[in-house]
């Protein structure tokens, strides 16, 4: 066993002596490392879990809904080039009545093949079994719904299927890759209590829905390398005459899209936040170590005088730094792994997986470690090299006394207002402007991290304000199972407690502009809707133009649209005009004088419509038209797809009862419940992230302030002790130090706000998806919080440093030479 070398002992003792600073540096480093491990880890785990789930349970690559097609078509579909597997099935909406639960539950009923397992979108059986073949009384339900209502095997509930109320018995509890994110129509976040997926025997459903020997839903798996676009086009061609609503790939499948948006968000976070944290910690370490090593100047001179080589001395300090860094990295790994698991588990709350794969790409750890170690070692080397370059005799001498100069402001006589103690502070800052600037930047970064951790709450509150209060003022939205004549308005108005009704027509289209296209619904409302208002970019409700289209900013962005552009709409779904009408009677002159015209013959069922306005919407892809214009365009008479209603809460139960027994209603969305659920989900999701990141940001802020105050104390110890000797009290002497910290902390605030805004912008840029956009809104209170936290961190570290001032060794300060 070799004895510990003297220099290595020095490392251990130095670490013990500076433990407070060592811990502060290590914690900042840990914050950087853990954010990287956490977000990359959560991202990878979620992605890996999804991939494994998709693969094992044969999640389909493409989907299509249609009105009704004979099963023979399946052969035709399978013959499309590039298709590997086809599954045709029945998929229908249903309203459920759950015992002791007043609001109607929206359900989706899916068929299970009777004599074989499903080929695609296979289910994981958590409990029980599939419903018996041909049984119209048995059903399997999704796990989330079962859990939300405490439903178990053998329990019963009622469902309106094709206008008839039926009692169903739960035989199985299932999970499906199609419903990882199970969200009801019109909802923003999953509400497991109000949305159910129900699997029943295909034979039974065919009988119930009059689809004997027919289907209305297709799922496909593509062969490797097949062109999705080609398959979708071919499929649309086949399904056109069967009321095809436009085939779509996975990216438009709702559960997949939400999961994808979440992954994208995590990825954005992992690309923006950890680099910021790592940068801040690297910067802080560099700053701190440079100055720590500079304080060891005399010892370095001595080591050189004793014959240690430059390399050996440099190595000594690098080792010291590496030990500190290793300490931080280990804490970071532990925290990151722990938080990462927590976050991944949290996702299981609203992403329903049968299992979780905790994926940790081994390379995040070395990456995080390498960045941190590199930053630390660089910081140390930089300082050591400057010192070892000096001749030992010079190094052993203290550095030449710093040269000060008068401040420019002094020539104006401003300084007369300051005491000498204040002058000491001001001249210090001016003497080392770079140092002051770096400290300010470090503090600003601490504040910026808090802004970027907190701002999402403001943005989401803004989304809620605009979407749930400014735009949507209905209490419920009832969607009809089939388009119905406007007369339904009267029926809706007669429902118990209903005070106001507003009908809408929703038409599924494929919107094209040049090479860009997107499938979305055009929403037709009264020109001046009261319940579901269209909001412009200045957040004012607009009056819809008499003709022409209004799209939201996301659609405009995706299709590169500006006001006045003309888009082509291909009307999808069971449109009676599809494939039949060449000459559409819809020729209107728009407000701007442009003409909405038909495409030349051949392109059946396509309409060209001008975009007359671009409006704001944070959820989904929205396009609006006045209902009369839309109806004229479709030429199917005055049909409506649903009704927005405002009702008196006192009659809610009666209203719900009525809705549950109204066969025409396919689904119901409740704004209040949606909002509440949205808030809950956000609180849970964002809440945890915000807690973690704010915690880390506080660590950083504290680390910066504490370290800079400690270093300042070491550098000015002699000066401060001299002041004490001269009869200045501890409080007065502390002021010199604290004033500087205060000034730098204050100067850092606006910089921190600006940086925070910039970082938030970077993050937001990665958050946009077709499902939702998060606007960049940062309230004054968020800036205030960030400042408050930094000021508090500064205050606490100042108090800690203050106790050091009380312990200054006055006599030692007189003995050592400057």
């Amino acid at each position: 066993m070799t004895a510990v070398r003297a220099l290595d002992k020095k490392i251990l003792r130095d670490l013990r002596r500076m433990w407070g600073q060592v811990l502060a540096i290590a914690m900042v480093l840990a914050a950087g490392v853990s954010t990287l491990v956490l977000s990359v880890g959560a991202y990878q785990s979620l992605e890996e879990t999804r991939n494994a789930y998709y693969q094992r349970y044969h999640f389909a690559d493409a989907f299509a809904a249609l009105t009704r097609a004979p099963k023979q078509i399946e052969q035709q579909i399978a013959a499309i080039e590039g298709i590997g597997t086809v599954e045709v099935r029945i998929s229908k909406p249903a309203i459920l009545d759950i015992p002791y639960f007043s609001p109607p539950v929206t359900g989706l009923v899916l068929s299970l093949p009777d004599h074989r397992p499903p080929r695609l979108n296979q289910t994981y059986v958590r409990a029980g079994r599939f419903p018996a073949s041909g049984s119209s009384r048995e059903a399997a339900i999704n796990e989330a719904f079962a859990k939300a209502h405490g439903l178990e095997i053998g329990d019963q509930f009622q469902a309106i299927l094709n206008g008839r109320k039926r009692r169903l018995t739960v035989t199985g509890i299932l999970l499906s890759p199609e419903f990882i994110y199970a969200i009801g129509p019109g909802d923003l976040v999953p509400d497991d209590k109000r949305y159910a997926v129900i699997w029943m025997s295909e034979e039974a459903l065919a009988e119930i829905f009059d689809l004997d020997g027919a289907f209305n839903s297709v799922a496909l798996q593509l062969l490797r390398g097949a062109s999705e676009a080609h398959v979708i086009d071919s499929l649309d061609e086949i399904l056109k005459r069967y009321g095809g609503a436009g085939a779509y790939g996975r990216e438009d499948q709702i559960s997949h899209a939400f999961l994808d948006a979440e992954l994208q968000q995590l990825k954005a976070m992992s690309r923006v936040l950890p680099p910021i944290f790592l940068f801040v910690s690297a910067f802080l370490i560099n700053m701190t170590l440079t100055r720590l090593v500079a304080l060891e100047r005399e010892q370095i001179g001595l080591l050189k005088a004793l014959g240690y080589t430059r390399a050996a001395i440099a190595m000594h300090y690098v080792k010291l730094v590496l030990v500190i860094a290793a300490f931080g990295i280990l804490i970071g790994f532990a925290l990151g792994t722990y938080f990462g698991h927590g976050l991944t588990r949290l996702y299981q709350e609203f992403f329903h997986f049968p299992f979780l794969v905790f994926k940790r790409d081994a390379d995040i750890y070395p990456l995080a470690a390498a960045i941190s170690l590199g930053a630390a070692a660089l910081g140390a080397l930089h300082a050591v090299m400057r010192v070892v370059a000096l001749a030992p005799a010079v190094a052993m001498q203290p550095p030449a006394p710093p040269r000060y100069r008068q401040l420019w402001a002094e020539s104006l006589g401003i300084y007369r207002h300051f005491s000498q103690l204040t002058m000491i502070t001001l001249r210090h800052i001016v003497r080392w402007p770079l140092r002051a600037a770096m400290t300010t930047l470090g503090l600003a970064l601490g504040g910026a991290l808090i802004v970027v951790s907190l701002f999402s709450v403001d943005s989401i509150e803004h989304m809620i304000d605009v979407s749930f209060f400014l735009s949507q003022r209905q209490d419920a939205t009832l969607s009809l199972s089939d388009e119905q004549h406007e007369r339904v308005l009267q029926a809706a108005a007669n429902l118990p407690g209903v005070m106001r009704v507003e009908t809408f027509r929703s038409v599924l289209v494929r919107m094209r502009h040049g090479q860009f296209e997107k499938k979305l619904a055009v929403h037709g409302s009264p020109r001046q809707p009261q319940l579901f208002r269209v909001i412009d970019r200045q957040l004012k409700p607009i009056v819809l133009p008499e003709d022409g289209l209004v799209v939201d900013t996301r659609v405009a962005e995706l299709l590169r649209l500006k006001r006045g552009d003309v888009v082509e709409l291909e009307i999808l779904g069971g449109w009676r005009g599809a494939g039949r009408i060449v000459d559409m009677p819809f020729v209107r002159t728009s407000a701007r004088g442009d003409e909405a015209t038909h495409l030349a013959g051949g392109a059946k069922g396509r309409v060209r419509v001008p975009v007359l306005d671009i409006v704001e919407s944070y959820f989904g892809l929205s396009a609006f038209m006045s209902r009369s214009a839309l109806n004229r365009m479709i030429d199917e008479g005055y049909l409506v797809s649903g009704v927005h209603v405002a009702y008196d809460g006192r009659f809610e139960d009666a209203l719900f009862e009525e809705i549950k027994s109204t066969p025409a209603i396919a689904s119901i969305a409740l704004r209040g419940v949606s909002l509440q659920k949205f808030r809950e989900t956000i609180a849970m999701n964002i809440g945890m992230m915000v807690t973690i990141y704010v915690g880390l940001a506080i660590t950083v802020a504290f680390g910066v302030v504490y370290n800079s105050a400690r270093i300042q104390l070491s550098e000015q110890a002699r000066e401060l002790a001299s002041l004490r000797v001269l009869g200045f009290t501890n409080a007065e002497v502390s002021r010199v130090l604290l004033l500087k910290t205060t000034l730098l902390v204050l100067a850092a605030q606006p910089v921190g706000w600006a940086l925070g805004y910039g970082f938030a912008w970077l993050m937001i840029a990665g958050f946009s998806s077709d499902l939702y956009r998060i606007p960049l809104i940062i309230n004054a209170s968020t800036y205030a919080w960030s400042s408050l936290v930094v000021l508090l961190a500064a205050l606490i570290s100042a108090l800690v440093v203050r106790t050091r001032i009380n312990r200054l060794d006055l006599i030692a300060a007189l003995k050592t030479r400057e």
Binding site: A400, R403, S419, L421, R427, L726, G727
Partner: protein, 244 residues
């Protein structure tokens, strides 16, 4: 070039140190820095404490100045028992009554000569103007220079000006010429003598330089933590008359 000695018999005692002992613990080792020292300082006198390094002079000076406390014994400043004062009490004592001059000047590098002096006058009750104090030490023409722009002797004279500007009752100087060459050192001593003469400030000067003892009224000889004897100078010399 002799100066007249004061008659101690008529003078009032300012400091009384009785059986002052100071023991430092350095690990296992016990270092007796002061071992039962008795000493009195009189108003307006100039006392030189002479002895080799480690003989206990600085320790005594630090205790007299309220920078340190004795392990045992009493130190009285006029009617105040310094050994009974707490930390804020000692700070107040230094602030009001004591001026310090140290071997390494201990100036604040970020303040000019004038500001270094103003530092003290700002917290004193009846100070002289900083310019006046600096003129007294012959630096009336270097008011706005920073320490880094002054020679060692000039820096030490700024320190003296800073120490006397608040008109302290006692001026304690620890090796004030220790870092200076003889020529510069004499300028500093001249400043001390003139302050002592013109303001009547009781002055104690620590030195290991025997030549300096001749400028004092009395000389206390230190060895091994004790005062071996005290001599009175019948014939004081002007600083200009001494050399080393």
């Amino acid at each position: 070039m002799a100066i007249e000695s004061v008659d101690n018999g008529e003078n009032i005692s300012i400091f009384q140190a009785r059986a002052v002992t100071k023991v430092y613990h350095s690990g296992e080792l016990e270092v007796r820095a002061l071992d039962g020292v008795d000493l009195e300082l009189f108003e307006s006198e100039m006392l030189v404490l002479l002895g080799p390094s480690g003989s206990g002079k600085s320790t005594l000076l630090n205790i007299l100045g309220g920078l340190d406390r004795p392990t045992s014994g009493t130190v009285r400043f006029k009617d105040t028992d310094l050994t009974r004062l707490d930390e804020p009490g000692l700070t107040g004592f230094r602030r009001k009554h004591v001026g310090f001059v140290f071997q390494f000047y201990n100036l604040i590098p970020s303040l000019t000569a004038r500001e270094n002096v103003a530092l003290v006058t700002e917290i004193a009750t009846n100070p002289m103007r900083p310019e006046e104090a600096l003129s007294l030490v012959g630096l009336g023409h270097r008011l706005d220079h920073f320490p880094s722009q002054l020679s060692g002797g000039e820096q030490q004279r700024v320190a003296i000006a800073r120490a006397i500007a608040k008109r302290p009752e006692v001026l304690l100087c620890d090796e004030p010429t220790g870092a200076l060459d003889s020529k510069t050192g004499i300028l500093v001593l001249e400043a001390l003598v003139s302050v002592n003469r013109e303001l009547g400030t009781t002055t104690a000067v620590i030195t290991h330089n025997r030549s300096i003892k001749d400028i004092a009224h009395r000389v206390a000889f230190f060895a091994d933590g004790k005062i071996t004897h005290v001599e009175e100078n019948q014939q004081r010399l002007e600083p200009a008359a001494i050399t080393w």
